[in-house]
């Protein structure tokens, strides 16, 4: 079958660089038995992992963070025949379903709110097993950024999931029985736990704690995949003696900085790339005197930074702090590290919440370029594209400030864009909104504690001379040159998907799942899922057919702004619903 051959060819292209080091799940024998494994029809050769290209085995689609499926069966010519194949309701979708599913050998795994994990037959949706961890309900009730779980990791015959009460759990991939359950964060003291997906690298499961505006030290953990034993812990706040000096008055004790999204992995250099959260308190009354005074004097390393870690021991190799002394909550926690090559240079592209996209040399995180994705930006006048240095910072002293752009919700959010090696284009959502705020001198927080540390009152607003909105653009990922753009009345808050069939899928906030021609940006299909999207989307093949799976459901902290800012349908959109909806060609 041509489509299969095409898919496999592309799979080989896309994966050839990865195969040797891709999740070692690839070498485990899967399929058969009660898991309803794939037919094997799409297997390329014994030297490649079963299901390469058919599967989606990591949160970002691959270690390269492309959010790209090489499958070609669904394309702009036949996408009109795309219909719902099956739906799965996980129940208790508090704050919507925000996760990205994974697929391996005909089985789809995903997690709902409260870290409930499901294994389903990927072709039919038939449940194979489920695992609902028992959580500390009192703690969950005290959390702000909860109870969603955004993803899982697969490998060594196990499914790995973090919990909002600070545990990392491994579940047997075939039976659904827990293999180990390791408490990593003292969530009872710090309130925060895990909401992001783990990243499996060789024999380590790597996961970062929540905690930008919470007064902790944002650790990232490396855990032995076989036993659940914690092997290393890297503190994103003052994780080295040198970096401790960038926090005046012992403010490192409560610096925030959680790296709460899964990052990427460069196998060639054995380097994990991870983005870190903002420092606490979010807003700093010191204003332009931030180097010497205020609640956290200094650069505040390694908050709002990209850090490169050795996955074997958690040691810091190098880093780049995108916003020294972040005074705006424009963190670097976005987990997307799009790895590319151009002109013989190995590069990685990383979006920063403030609305700029950073391009780094993968060998040392030196800045290759910085380009602007969001239009309304005035927290800096610019960022030097050669050095990454901030030009004309708008620091915010005590008192009132108007029209700070972007708003706290960012010029980009945590949801991932997509890169297609076929078009060479990077597809990414930008958010346009601003806010008025009043910075208030609060009592300095000196010990970790169980509450947020913000330091301002604020409200979102339209940018001056414009209306708040969002956009999807297709760009050269290195230069930022724009090929096409589609405007949205409200910013889409879900991740994107690019496919080898020359399509880009955008799950939009009103509830429409839209498909665009990846070359031209022409909308070629849409479907109403009946509620906003705020999670992931993937493509996979099972039993010889290509599928698209998308998480539905509304109610993230960014989405919570929409009711007041945009009115309906958001004012009446439920925040306790969400399902997994899976499509295929009829």
């Amino acid at each position: 079958m041509t489509t299969k051959r095409g898919a496999l060819y592309l799979a080989r292209l896309a994966l050839v660089a990865l195969v040797a080091t891709a999740c070692s799940t690839s070498s485990t024998s899967q399929g058969g038995g009660s898991t309803g494994g794939s037919t094997g029809a799409m297997r390329t050769s014994m030297s490649e992992p079963a299901g390469a290209g058919n599967d989606w085995t990591t949160y970002h689609g691959s270690y390269q963070s492309w959010h790209y499926s090489p499958l070609t069966e669904i394309n702009p010519d036949n996408v009109k025949r795309l219909k719902v194949a099956w739906v799965h309701h996980p129940g208790r979708s508090t704050r919507g379903l925000q996760s990205t599913p994974l697929v391996q050998d005909g089985v789809l795994y995903y997690t709902g709110s409260y870290s409930r994990v499901w294994a389903l037959d990927a072709a039919t949706g038939k449940p194979l097993w489920s695992y609902f961890p028992k959580l500390n309900d009192d703690l969950v009730a005290a959390q702000t950024h909860s109870p969603y779980t955004r993803g899982i990791a697969l490998g060594h015959g196990k499914v790995y999931v973090g919990t909002v009460d600070g545990r990392l759990i491994a579940i047997d991939q075939k039976t659904g029985q827990p293999a180990w359950d390791t408490k990593l964060v003292n969530s009872e003291k710090l309130t925060v736990g895990f909401t992001g997906a783990p990243l499996l690298v060789k024999d380590k499961v790597i996961i970062g704690s929540q905690g930008g505006e919470w007064p902790g030290r944002g650790p990232i953990f490396g855990v032995d995949a076989a036993s659940g034993r914690k092997v290393w812990e890297f503190l994103t706040v003052a994780g080295t003696e040198e970096s401790k000096k960038t926090w005046g008055n012992d403010s490192w004790r409560t610096g925030g900085g959680g790296g709460w999204m899964a990052g990427g992995y460069d196998a060639e250099t054995n380097t994990v790339w991870w983005g870190t959260g903002n420092p606490a308190p979010l807003y700093d009354w010191a204003g332009s005197e931030w180097k010497t005074t205020g609640p956290r004097p200094g650069d505040n390393l390694f908050t709002t930074a990209v850090i490169a870690l050795d996955p074997d021991n958690g040691r810091l190799k190098f880093y780049h702090q995108e916003l020294p002394h972040d005074a705006w909550d424009f963190d670097s926690a976005v987990g997307e590290f799009v790895m590319l090559e151009r002109d013989g240079k190995k590069l990685v592209v990383h979006p920063n919440k403030g609305g700029h996209v950073f391009v780094y040399d993968r060998k040392d995180a030196s800045v290759v370029n910085v380009w602007q994705l969001a239009k309304h930006i005035n927290f800096v006048k610019g960022i030097d594209p050669k050095t990454g240095a901030l030009i004309g910072r708008r620091d915010l002293p005590l008192g009132k400030h108007t029209n700070l752009c972007p708003a706290i919700a960012g010029g980009m959010s945590w949801n991932s864009g997509a890169y297609s090696p076929k078009t060479g284009l990077y597809y990414k959502i930008g958010q346009e909104w601003c806010m008025d705020l009043e910075v208030i001198k609060t009592t300095p927080v000196l010990e970790p504690q169980a509450q947020l540390d913000i330091g301002a009152n604020f409200k979102l607003r339209n940018p001056e001379g414009d209306k708040a909105h969002g956009h999807l653009s297709a760009r050269d990922p290195i230069t930022g040159a724009k090929k096409w753009e589609v405007m949205f009345p409200e910013p889409p808050l879900a991740s994107l998907l690019a496919t080898g069939g020359n399509l880009v899928f955008v799950p939009d906030p009103r509830g429409m799942l839209r498909a665009y021609d990846a070359q031209s940006g022409k909308e070629v299909w849409s479907h109403n899922n009946g509620i906003g999207h705020n999670g992931g989307i993937i493509s996979f093949a099972a039993k010889g057919k290509q599928y698209i799976a998308v998480a539905t459901g509304w109610g993230s902290l960014v989405g919570d702004e929409f009711g007041e800012l945009f009115g309906e349908p958001y004012k009446s959109m439920p925040k306790d619903a969400g399902a997994l909806v899976v499509f295929t060609l009829e």
């Binding site: 508090t94 704050r95 009192d138 009730a141 005290a142 959390q143 702000t144 909860s146 109870p147 309130t191 505006e213 007064p215 409560t254 308190p281 008025d436 009043e438 208030i440 001198k441 609060t442 009592t443 300095p444 927080v445 000196l446 010990e447 504690q449 169980a450 509450q451 947020l452 540390d453 913000i454 330091g455 301002a456 009152n457 604020f458 409200k459 979102l460 109610g555 902290l557 919570d560 702004e561 009711g563 007041e564 925040k575 306790d576």
Partner: protein, 101 residues
């Protein structure tokens, strides 16, 4: 910091000695640390969370809602705040002028 703040609040908010004005000043600080993330413009307008200025909810309702929260919408702060801090927050909310009224 909880210890420090609790002590300060306990000293300044002893049941018999505190004025509404003092309590609302302390409440304003706590609010800007923790509550303003959702109750925007210091609770004066609706945002992620509802507007609080001019609320017709009784004190007991407000105290209870801050303590136990609301699933999927508002965190429970019963563990984080002392009784004096809770009362200071309510005093702050009561001090807000409701321009829309």
């Amino acid at each position: 910091m909880i210890r420090t703040l609790t002590l300060a609040v306990a000293l300044s908010l002893g049941p018999a000695v505190v004025s509404d004005e003092e309590a609302s000043l302390t409440g304003a600080q706590i609010f800007a640390s923790t509550c303003g993330f959702c109750h925007q413009d210091g609770g004066r307008v609706a945002g992620r969370g509802p507007k609080l200025a001019g609320t017709d909810r009784p004190d007991d309702f407000l105290l209870n809602r801050i303590r136990v929260g609301k699933e999927g919408a508002m965190p429970a702060y019963g563990r984080a705040f002392s009784e004096a801090q809770l009362r200071a927050l309510v005093a702050y909310i009561r001090s807000l002028k409701d321009d829309a009224r």
